[in-house]
Amino acid sequence: MNEKRHMGLRTLNRVSNTSIYVILTIISVIWLLPFVFITLQSFRVESTYQVGYVIPKQWGLQNYINLWNSDFKRWYINTFIIALASAVLITIIQLCMSYTLSRFRFKMRGPLMRFMLILGMFPGMLTMIILYRVLSDLGLTQANAVPGLILVGVASSGMGYYVSKGFFDTIPKSLDEAARVDGATRFQVLCKIILPLSKPIVIYTILTAFMGPWGDFVFARYVAFGTSAGYNVAVGMYSWLTNDQIARMYTTFCAGGVIVAVPVTILFLCLQKYYVEGVTGGAVKG
């Protein structure tokens, strides 16, 4: 009787596991299809316009060569500079802010945290017009859009303190105190004790800080305002999708899409372990 029930349970488990995997496989195929499609189109050289089939009839690297000879190089460098500078500066500011809010007790700390949390709930787009005015007055629009976009990204970065502060809160304060008794300054405590224990959250912060500007479109387009020299890849490539360009540039556009995805994919593949830990884990175990 017991054995029968046991067998029944095992079969039920197997059926439910199999159906879950089948569903997940279908979802992942659907999810991957656009990527596969774009990648295949990027190697199509028999025509440059949209066609009704997926597998290229003639394969080649012409689209990538076209890319190299276009403004794409400039846009790519622009995007890379914005994303890298933002990632470095945002990470530094955000981690310092989080450490301060996690470890220091000062007047108005609570209200300040709540104020920033509420302020962060408003979409950034609301500030677009006034920010453009400010950037324009500073001469940081159009051809100078790169430093302008870095400034905008970095300026409000301290407000994203809560994820890393939550992580720092899990590190016992006695570690800071022990280090201070051992002779470390506050800055040394942060660099030698807290940050090495916070690898996942540092990587999470770098990744999110890099990803934001890397995929930015609306704000980047607004700030560059029709000047190709200030475009990032998203804005630049969008300019190829106009009615008069699309027939000539469609496959090049696909090649650009592949190139844009490469660094982000590599970053995620290398750092996904930390990324998941950063979102879900605490620092000090055992």
Partner: protein, 373 residues
């Protein structure tokens, strides 16, 4: 090596809660002082003020004659061992111990010598390349002590260092701390809530309650002459029995009359009562469980019935009820009873107890202060 002097030290938190009130204490060079008291009594806060981890609201802390109120922890010449060990999880045991030396830019060969030396004293040499998570509680605590040792500090601060260990290991580590103290020969300030640790380790004990010092004295002083009821009940396990009764003076003789008995206060205690000219009246009478003895029925004996008999191995803890229902605890060494006597001590068994004058402590019922101090 240094003395530590606290003068009118006060800790007031932002929410106006006063954690420590006018704390005055002189700790001599190479002395081992233990702060003991229940949770929330301010003992750890006081230690943290000495360490510089907590701001001093009022008063001064001097280490070796120098006021250190505004000095950073690293500049106070102290080393500290924390309750939860506070080992750096990402560093090996070696790096943990070497951390403070490397911050001071001590040459690596000196670091090596100091770390291996400390590890040898503490018996952790074989674990030097391990991370803290691969160590047991006792080993972690040794590493924490090692980290404090290499700093060659003037004052060694320990904040409940044995609280996270199991009972057996705690006893072992307690003995090791005594040995360590002999080896280091420096000033120790030790915080604990465990009165056994306080009694066994301290040259002097500071007993605290609600941010106030209740008594400062040697273990013998606080045990034999507690200055108030709190100290009397806090020190000693099981805690002192306290009953409300009358002190009766007849000429030059004193008696107490608990539960209808009439017990003479003879010897030293009787003489002290006489010297202080204590009048007859209601008092709180304290007697430690180990000073109560089983007796035969008579004028000097209190009748009671046994409620619970706890066999502790070397002794029995008898929980008894007197005729008016007051609960007392009596500690009887098992060696004093034969097997028959031991077997007879079951719940409901009637027995008689008594105690001598030298075992009695007299407290004022209003102020709870010891009448003889």
């Amino acid at each position: 090596m240094a003395s530590v002097k606290l003068t009118k030290v006060k800790k007031i938190y932002d929410n106006k809660v006063v954690a420590v009130h006018d704390f005055d204490l002189d700790i001599h060079d190479k002395e081992f002082v233990v702060f003991v008291g229940p949770s929330g009594c301010g003992k750890s806060t006081t230690l943290r003020m000495i360490a510089g981890l907590e701001e001093i609201s009022e008063g001064t802390v001097e280490i070796d004659g120098e006021v250190v109120n505004d000095l950073q922890p690293k500049d106070r010449g102290i080393a500290m061992v924390f309750q939860n060990y506070a080992l750096y999880p990402h560093m090996t045991v070696y790096d943990n111990i070497a951390f403070s030396l490397r911050l001071k830019k001590v040459p690596e060969d000196v670091v090596y010598e100091k770390v291996t030396n400390a590890a040898e004293i503490l018996g952790i040499t074989e674990y030097l390349m391990r991370k803290p998570r691969a160590l047991s509680g006792g080993q972690r605590q040794r590493v924490a002590i090692g980290r404090a040792m290499v700093r060659d500090s003037k004052v060694f601060l320990m904040d409940e260092p044995l609280s996270n260990l199991d009972a057996k290991l705690r006893n072992q580590m307690r003995a090791e701390i005594i040995l360590l103290r002999q080896k280091l020969d420096t000033t120790f300030i030790y915080v604990t809530h465990d009165q056994t640790e306080a009694m066994t380790l301290g040259d002097r004990i500071v007993i605290m309650k609600d941010g106030y010092i209740m008594q400062v004295g040697t273990p013998t002083e606080v045990f034999e002459m507690p200055s108030n009821l709190f100290v009397a009940e806090f020190i000693g396990a099981p805690k002192m029995n306290v009953v409300k009764t009358n002190l009766v003076r007849e000429g030059d003789e004193y008696f107490v009359t608990p539960f209808g008995a009439k017990l003479p206060v003879k010897g030293e205690k009787g003489r002290m009562l006489l010297e202080k000219n204590i009048p007859s009246g209601e008092i709180l009478l304290g007697v430690r469980p180990e000073h109560i003895v089983l007796a035969k029925e008579g004028e000097n004996a209190i009748a009671c019935s046994l409620v619970v008999n706890e066999m502790m191995g070397s002794e029995l803890h008898l929980h008894v009820n007197t005729t008016d229902g007051t609960g007392l605890i009596v500690r009887v060494p098992t060696i004093d009873l034969d097997a028959q006597g031991r077997n007879a001590l079951v719940g409901g068994h009637d027995l008689h107890i008594t105690f001598e004058g030298k075992a009695m402590h007299f407290f004022d019922p209003a102020t709870e202060k010891n009448l003889l101090v």
